[in-house]
């Protein structure tokens, strides 16, 4: 058969179109999937919890049933005792996390973009990043007492390290060409720092930021158990002194729910701030 000659495209005037933006269809199905499995898992967990008490495997003196816990939680919310203790905790966590976020990222970018700083800081970082927070509690109390300052400081400490260490690494991953292209556009240091390095490294900051957010409440409760007037750690401690087992678990439930909330907020922030990445191959 003779080859057919097709009309060639006008090479001079045409340019291949951009690839269409496709959204996978499977995502929706997977979402319901995880919802169903998640519900089953949660119900199973509650059942086991209830059974171990109902069958007398664990004394209700140490472990409240799910129903009692829920009741104590609802009552605590209704009479305002849980919010009264949760609110100061949330404030401390947010303030501490916020300070750590700013300081951690600014220092992280500085240390990450100046190799000399990185080398100087290396041994000190190695020491502090793995040091147990609990070992440092007495130090914080000695310096700052058991008031607000020491509690916030502990949160700052616990949040700072993951953010900072992660940021140092993230800055190293910023493509040189982006910085060079900003320089040729006439950008100064401040512009490059805030408008190029920061947004370019932002997606890689998030693992550290998430870890820090999770650390915030852990560290805070430890700090509150040392003492103080109000806070979720204190709420739990007081319930324990009074043998109010359901209240202990209501306090723990509150912390757990706050953890889920924090995680959701972080995911939302991440999705929003890195929305330009959607559709890129790496995500």
């Amino acid at each position: 058969m003779a080859p057919t000659i097709t009309e060639p495209q006008r090479a001079q005037k045409q340019e291949p179109a951009a690839p269409p933006i496709t959204r996978p269809q499977r995502r929706k199905a997977l979402k319901y999937d995880s919802l169903i499995y998640g519900t089953v898992g949660l119900l199973g967990f509650l059942l086991v919890w209830w059974l171990v008490i109902d069958r007398g495997l664990i004394s209700s003196l140490y472990l409240a049933t799910p129903q009692e816990t829920l009741k104590a939680f609802v009552d605590g919310i209704a009479d305002g005792s849980i919010p009264a203790d949760a609110w100061p905790s949330i404030q401390r966590a947010v303030i501490g996390f916020g300070i750590a976020l700013v300081v951690g990222i600014v220092l992280g970018i500085l240390v990450g973009s100046v190799p000399v700083f990185g080398k100087l800081a290396e041994p000190v970082l190695l020491f502090f990043r793995n040091l147990s927070l609990l070992a440092l509690l007495p130090v914080f109390v000695a310096f700052l007492g058991i008031g607000e300052e020491s509690k916030v400081a502990i949160v700052v400490w616990a949040c700072f390290w993951p953010i900072f260490i992660n940021a140092v690494g993230a800055v190293g991953g910023v493509e040189r060409i982006l910085i060079n292209s900003a320089r040729t556009l006439g950008a100064g240091r401040l512009y490059i720092f805030s408008q190029v390095v920061l947004p370019a490294a932002l997606p890689s900051f998030f693992p550290g930021i998430r870890l820090a957010a999770a650390n915030a409440f852990t560290a805070l409760v430890a700090a509150e158990l040392v003492g103080g007037a109000q806070g979720l750690g204190i709420y739990i401690n007081n319930a324990s002194y009074r043998f109010q087992t359901p209240q202990i678990y209501a306090g723990i439930l509150t912390l757990g729910l706050l953890g889920i909330l924090v995680n959701a907020l972080m995911s939302g922030a991440e999705r929003y701030l890195t929305r330009w990445q959607r559709g890129l191959t790496s995500r």
Partner: protein, 263 residues
């Protein structure tokens, strides 16, 4: 200082550049007149991109003089615009915002910035893509945004570092035509240094071609391209074009052969 230096927009004399254990430029001389389109052509690794980076102020040099408007290049010059091979657009900014970047750095007010960016995007034929992110654009469109980005702040000197090398042949020819259209129609003729390893590209675009030796690189030959402007795709088929191509190819081949003999 000689008069030649004073009239040249860009002048390089005896430029030396060495990376650890690797001499890239040696005794490199080149003069580019104001409003001239000059292509720097050479085998890969000959130092042509290094010279461009020196001129852009991104790289230091170890000896000789590099002058723009009679002044030594020291750091980045705000009157110079660079287009890189790998686009180098900010992936988190829309095409429009990318084009605005140079203006924002220069403190141009928001409204003016937006109007100017829209205008330049129209010039490169991308007005409909203004709100798209770089990864939603094809390679050719991205490179047009990169060109728009430097046109926006109106530098005197445009530097191109193999801007079309990563594109397919069809897009490449299209963009060469676009670049010429923009440059030839510009109100003030910009001075252009265009680094490439494509002979056809160099001939089609340039007033003059500087062919480099292999590393350590210097300018081996300067070839005038007397093809009439405005040039169209038909210019590629003229006898003059073909004649210049064989001339340039011969010079380049010699270099490549010398290079392989060395091994």
């Amino acid at each position: 200082m000689t008069t030649a230096v004073q009239t040249a927009k860009i002048a390089a004399h005896g430029v030396e550049k060495e990376f650890p254990g690797n001499k890239v430029l040696e005794d490199f001389d080149l003069q580019i007149k104001g409003g001239e389109f000059l292509s720097l052509l050479g085998p890969s690794g000959c130092g042509k991109s290094t010279f461009l980076n020196i001129l852009a102020g991104l790289e230091t040099y170890d000896g000789g003089d590099v002058l723009v408007d009679g002044k030594h290049v020291e750091g980045v010059n705000k009157d110079v615009g660079v287009v890189f091979q790998s686009y180098a657009l900010f992936p988190w900014l829309t095409a429009q915002k990318n084009v605005e970047a140079g203006l924002k750095i220069r403190g141009v007010p928001r409204k003016e910035r937006r109007d100017r960016a829209a205008e330049v995007l129209r010039t490169v034929g991308l007005q409909t893509a203004a709100n798209r992110l770089p990864h939603q654009l094809s390679g050719g469109m991205r490179q047009r945004v990169a060109i728009a980005r430097i046109l926006a702040y109106e530098p005197d000197v445009l530097l191109f570092d193999e801007p079309f090398a990563a594109l397919d042949a069809q897009t490449r020819e299209f963009l060469q035509g676009e670049l010429l259209r923009i440059w030839e129609n510009g109100t003030t003729k910009k001075t252009v240094l265009f680094v490439t390893h494509s002979i056809d590209e160099a001939i089609f675009l340039s007033d003059r071609i500087a062919v480099m030796t292999r590393a350590p690189g210097r300018v081996k030959a300067l070839i005038d391209v007397d093809l009439p402007r405005p040039r169209t795709s038909e210019s590629r088929n003229t006898e003059d074009f073909i004649h210049i191509r064989s001339q340039v190819a011969r010079i380049l081949e010699e270099e490549v052969r010398l290079g392989t003999d060395n091994h």
